[in-house]
Amino acid sequence: DARVTQTPRHKVTEMGQEVTMRCQPILGHNTVFWYRQTMMQGLELLAYFRNRAPLDDSGMPKDRFSAEMPDATLATLKIQPSEPRDSAVYFCASGQLTSWAGELFFGEGSRLTVL
């Protein structure tokens, strides 16, 4: 079965450190989303790409977060510098949204703890 793969699954880091999370979307999917899940905020949309082009990153704190898709097999989410309030589970999801009707396939998430 094709799956969305995220690394690392767990990351503990200290405040101020750079964190990079990686996602391998399902081959052939044209849309990739990054979400952050916390108890307080639920699932927040951070950014998304269609055909590797960033369409919306309005959900991201611009001063410290950046998202890229250097190629069709890799999406990255970087936090620099990280802060304790960034502690959350970060999900990547991909889909073939040719008519914006498609379902999303989620990775297992990257659990980030910033001390």
Partner: protein, 111 residues
């Protein structure tokens, strides 16, 4: 603007009870899509169902059923004869250019 509201943060039921999870959406678009996803304890969200704004037919899939009513902007999800394996967080989502999720409803089914 898109918005999805799941007012029930947590529901507990005893096994075999029926349970309905509420979802209310806001959108200015005439064409949009609504979804339900399940997040089991393992963490990975799993797609359950999709509905487009032109199809108000209710749907039944085994013990699951969905009731879409545009008049009340609701897309509710009912589990009949709940089982412990149904315990999860359930998310409703609206898709129109971007996928917006509700805050989720945690369902606990007790044996």
């Amino acid at each position: 603007a898109q918005k999805v509201t799941q007012a029930q943060t947590e529901i507990s039921v005893v096994e075999k009870e029926d349970v309905t999870l509420d979802c209310v959406y806001e959108t200015r678009d005439t064409t949009y899509y609504l979804f339900w996803y399940k997040q089991p304890p393992s963490g990975e969200l799993v797609f359950l169902i999709r509905r487009n704004s032109f199809d108000e037919q209710n749907e039944i899939s085994g013990r699951y059923s969905w009731n879409f009513q545009k008049s009340t902007s609701s897309f509710n999800f009912t589990i009949t004869a709940s089982q412990v394996v149904d315990s999860a967080v359930y998310f409703c989502a609206n898709l129109r250019l971007k996928y917006i999720f509700g805050t989720g409803t945690r369902l606990k089914v007790l044996a």
